[in-house]
Symmetry: D2
Subunit: 427 residues, 4 copies
Amino acid sequence: MAETSIADSTTGRDGAILAGLPAVRQWQEDFYRDLHRHPELSHQEHRTAGLVAEKLRESGIEVREGIGGTGVIGIIRAGEGPVVLLRADMDALPVQEATGLAYASTERAIDASGNEVPVMHACGHDVHVTCLLGASELLARHAEQWNGTVIALFQPAEEVGDGARGMVNDGLREAIPDVDVAMAQHVLPLPAGVVGTHRGPFLAAADSMRITVFGRGAHGSMPQAAVDSVVLAAMIVIRLQTIVSREVAAADTVVLTVGSIRAGTKSNVIGDRAVLELNLRTFDESTRTSVLNAIRRIVIAECQASDSPEEPEFELYDSFPLTVNDDEVTGRVHDAFARHFGARLHAMPQGAASEDFSDIPTALGVPFTYWGIGGIDEQHYRRAVQNGRVSQDIPVNHSPGFAPVIQPTLDTGTEALVVAALAWLAP
Amino acid sequence: MAETSIADSTTGRDGAILAGLPAVRQWQEDFYRDLHRHPELSHQEHRTAGLVAEKLRESGIEVREGIGGTGVIGIIRAGEGPVVLLRADMDALPVQEATGLAYASTERAIDASGNEVPVMHACGHDVHVTCLLGASELLARHAEQWNGTVIALFQPAEEVGDGARGMVNDGLREAIPDVDVAMAQHVLPLPAGVVGTHRGPFLAAADSMRITVFGRGAHGSMPQAAVDSVVLAAMIVIRLQTIVSREVAAADTVVLTVGSIRAGTKSNVIGDRAVLELNLRTFDESTRTSVLNAIRRIVIAECQASDSPEEPEFELYDSFPLTVNDDEVTGRVHDAFARHFGARLHAMPQGAASEDFSDIPTALGVPFTYWGIGGIDEQHYRRAVQNGRVSQDIPVNHSPGFAPVIQPTLDTGTEALVVAALAWLAP
Amino acid sequence: MAETSIADSTTGRDGAILAGLPAVRQWQEDFYRDLHRHPELSHQEHRTAGLVAEKLRESGIEVREGIGGTGVIGIIRAGEGPVVLLRADMDALPVQEATGLAYASTERAIDASGNEVPVMHACGHDVHVTCLLGASELLARHAEQWNGTVIALFQPAEEVGDGARGMVNDGLREAIPDVDVAMAQHVLPLPAGVVGTHRGPFLAAADSMRITVFGRGAHGSMPQAAVDSVVLAAMIVIRLQTIVSREVAAADTVVLTVGSIRAGTKSNVIGDRAVLELNLRTFDESTRTSVLNAIRRIVIAECQASDSPEEPEFELYDSFPLTVNDDEVTGRVHDAFARHFGARLHAMPQGAASEDFSDIPTALGVPFTYWGIGGIDEQHYRRAVQNGRVSQDIPVNHSPGFAPVIQPTLDTGTEALVVAALAWLAP
Amino acid sequence: MAETSIADSTTGRDGAILAGLPAVRQWQEDFYRDLHRHPELSHQEHRTAGLVAEKLRESGIEVREGIGGTGVIGIIRAGEGPVVLLRADMDALPVQEATGLAYASTERAIDASGNEVPVMHACGHDVHVTCLLGASELLARHAEQWNGTVIALFQPAEEVGDGARGMVNDGLREAIPDVDVAMAQHVLPLPAGVVGTHRGPFLAAADSMRITVFGRGAHGSMPQAAVDSVVLAAMIVIRLQTIVSREVAAADTVVLTVGSIRAGTKSNVIGDRAVLELNLRTFDESTRTSVLNAIRRIVIAECQASDSPEEPEFELYDSFPLTVNDDEVTGRVHDAFARHFGARLHAMPQGAASEDFSDIPTALGVPFTYWGIGGIDEQHYRRAVQNGRVSQDIPVNHSPGFAPVIQPTLDTGTEALVVAALAWLAP
């Protein structure tokens, strides 16, 4: 997985362009550590966007800023030819980093609800940004090797599901040439150095729902005068588990997670409300509808069981589209990856995660593909896998311990973007 | 319940001293509204303590400040005779007021955990302070009517259970003459104008416990890689209900309330821990021990059921003593109340609430009594009571709607303190 | 506790009559073992009733049989004087005996639902029957020592709550002379040799409820086509715990037990209904009503949460009255017990158990008292009690291990009946 | 779907043989109604086996009886050629029929646990038996049309998973010629007239588990002396739901059903044990192992939470293998079905049901395929399907309302067996 292997397996244009990787790698690693140390919440990616624009300009690339808030676009023109859009997302999560890394984040920020929260690149968007900047520089510095246009799109607010729509609604189509194909990638808990593709439905539709249920407040010593909102909320959490276990066919892929529960402020006061925030992943619309209906049915009934004095409130937010990789696009990228990565190319199973990336090609009316790259140290990964199962000491995306190893992760993500783009760009 | 009735029913010293009530009432009502509008959390009673000291001085009473933090003591000396300690508590609660009153609180403060919270006098300590200031003024202005010493003690931090201990530990005994008897009162959801006494065990022992349980964080779409701390916390809440329903004899009075639950920060991230805060009320030590053991047993087992990666943490705090009213003291006060209040004197049942008042007489080695006064408008109360049951539109202590009617509540509380003190003070 | 102590402490009539106890004891112990070995379910007490009638006749007592099914009455006339009714209940329970005793029951019977069940005297009615037969013989053989009438009433079907009513409805009043006072006793997990009285409300009102909830059947592999009645029933059981833990004041004595749950017949078939049988104990009518309403509210709401296709069904049965011991009757019996039993007389706390005995005096319009006797070996009891708490290896009524030690249990119960009756019977 | 359509679409050997279907149909429909009216539990298929053997003999087929208990084999020899095994299962289920059909079952039987239960052909094995008898007669009467051997195997006890193994262990291999290929079919809630095939993993592995958990018995009024086995069992049911909802990846197909729960015999007695029977469906061994481990972990922990006095007991039973259809066999059958059934041939999705059929070919070392046929009236089916979802008024296998329409179900199942067998038999 050293760079010599790249030279070995890659010939022609790809090899010529990727020969520049060692130079890129020199700034990429520090750039990545800096991004990781300074994560920013969705819609607050000001520092990140500034660094992205600066680096694009250093690479001699034309830049558009401020699209959809903090969105940044680099446009690399190399004459007539296909227009390939490559996208990276920039935002981070309200997670307290626990990686123990020298470059771990200690940042805190005020979230959309006004609460101060820790911030961490627990989803690896710092990898995505760094790789796309590296790929852009390689493509820009070797523009003589290809014809067409590459659009490097740096998107805000993927985690809350409206960053892609935000760029679309803020004039994305007008800001760039007509696109032929769109691509994006995500770093995952696979061995670093690996890439993986998947045809067809790849990532789930997602919806978040905020549910507020009402009790009746009282002193903690007088439950008989209260309707206990903590007990009500707990019952709802428990009952909601039965949707996946009992109401959904086993072959139907659904995830329903109550990510947050909060009720009460003091041990001896029964509070008058509880707030649950849940997230739903589905792979078809009729299942989505029936699960959303079941959630409402259960919450309303549990409120009645508690004799709740007010109707519960439901607020749907952070909706993500289904991500369905185009067959032909995925096939062409897969073939290019096979030539370049050899055995490092894996088949990816369907995943329950979600992405708003597809909102961009959908709005532009173009096909797309979305692939995965690994981020876990290969030795660590091998030790953790036993009998075909990954043991639980591999941190996954969104966990406080998720931090890709820097190499070969950055190299692989950078190579993948270059190789995939070149599969479409005219020679 | 008009003041003429007082004149009618009260003769001798009591009548002579209480004849000053109309004058006191003139400042008391505004003073009360101001306190209600500006509540302060436990250990933060700086403004309140300042107003108390100022008013004591206006009444010509000797003042000691800063005992146990914000504690204030007024000493009214009237020659040789018994020393009676009267106590009021000053702190308020992190509750969002919903009384709709013109003088409702809109205050917010930073609590001990560093969170900003609403603040409200949802437990009526503003009534206690105002009545004790009024009674002090009456006793001070008519000191020629009695012999002995009255100590008016204004205590911080009753709600968190360490304000009384704090004053004791900060030299209370040395700051005041030797006490013979101690008394305190609490406003309750009874008809305003009513007072109630109870001999023997009156209020429960109370303990709060903070329980932290650990899951394993992951993206919300990958529950299989997580241990879901929200589900774990909900199961614990549900399981804890079985302690009172199944492990405690029906005749044994126990309340176990989980007042607060919080886990996770985002709908689509499975957080790695949950925090529960619960409150336990018991009336004997062996029950207390066996319930605390049952709580630990259940929490530990539920963590095992969830395959939790870490042992749960238990922190006991805000422990309140059992309040056992002295037979003789209560009897003498009861007789004095019977003479003064007539049919307005009720028998009070045992209550599941708790108080740290008794830490003071216990430390001083003196007997005490603690009584209740009503705060609900009598017409409202009558409408709400049907078939001997109070319907649920009477707000109880600690609820967002709890606000005593100003009169006859303040009059009654002021009279009760004067009458009870005089039952002990030499003529 | 040997018989000499009886002679020591008892003089006069009581002593003269109880001097016959050793003779009675000779048949009582074998009679008891036989009853214990051959228990009969409620309304099936044919063998027991036959033995009772036979023994009464052997003692020269006038017998009435077949009142209220298997009810038996012995009438002992000794001239003019008060008429005292002493009652024992005869039925046993569907429990599989696990005492390991040589005379343990291995009986099985068909219950009211048509199921074959094990049968056991797990509630000690065999003790009651044996003691009342002994006391009757003693009183009959020494009728020259007293004046009046003793009615020894052997009642069926106490466990299902309708045996007393059954005798009343079947002409009890006409079958016997006018009664002045009624008495009954129960063996309890106290040290054998002890008796205990209680004035006022002693035993709870009880109600049983059968709840049928409906799911939708399907193969176990297709939960999405089913409404899972097992999950629904489990949720209801869990939710019902919150009535006692949250809806009832801590000082209010309520027990709500789901004694039986059954749903489904096979591991891989989702059944279409579940049946719960619960039992409720309360000490006042308004609490009883509000708890019954809460049960219905919770069951209906949980059915809605499960999307149950049919309304649940509720059937109330086995209702028992509140048992309130008459002050004067209890006082007189207490004094007689104090003279006879000395330190072996204990105060009994209120108990959550229930009895239909009071239906008889209520129907006859006469006062009554009901007391307890111990049945646990004293050494065993002492070892089991630590720090004032009884450890859990003392089997309680209705448990598979409940078996009173034969002595001094039978002696004590026999003496208590004689002493209590004589407290009323004219000399 | 009338027989003319068969003639239209089927030519050559198939057509010649199936021309006999009208004659077969004359006895098949009555035979089916009789079987349906007289279902027999697993291992009790004596009457059914007798009828099968009698009918085979009437058709002139060589019969072997009593293999693996009630197993019956018919052997149809037609010279040299491939040996095709066709299998039908004969047993019924403990379900109370609620179809309202004139030929509905009212049978009751004693199950393996000694309980009397209702019995119903709720899984359609009566269809399987009738179709295989019909196909056997057609093949036997037209043996001149083909070469080889057909083995018509009628298996007991499929529902409990050991009927196929039982025949294997009882000398099946020696009782029949060497088999080349094995086939079986199942009637499903698809439109009658339809057949469906599936290559690869088709049906789940299944395991049943009986779990006994222990409480401590007591009278229902003394929960503090008991460990409540009903509450414990309910908690386990609820907790087990979290395995599918939280511990299994959404894309992994797992069904965990608690089909039966029973605890307690009486509303006012807390029983000392509860029995749960659950069924697990999985599609790979490592998932199966981890779910079985999770079940044990949860049950043990919930027993600890309840302070259960004894370790729980686990008994695994009724284990079914994974059913993986052979690619080549399925392909050849699929092609033959396509020629014969045209548009009535559907692709079948993977199902969560299980079968022990594959134990036979696995033991014989031969490839197999297993297909589905529809049994729901086509008009009814169309009305019930809306937006691609089947509404819930279509009764599914194992439900009390499951009853295939007689035609075209029997015709289709008979034709499918003949056509599939002929795809292998030499001309």
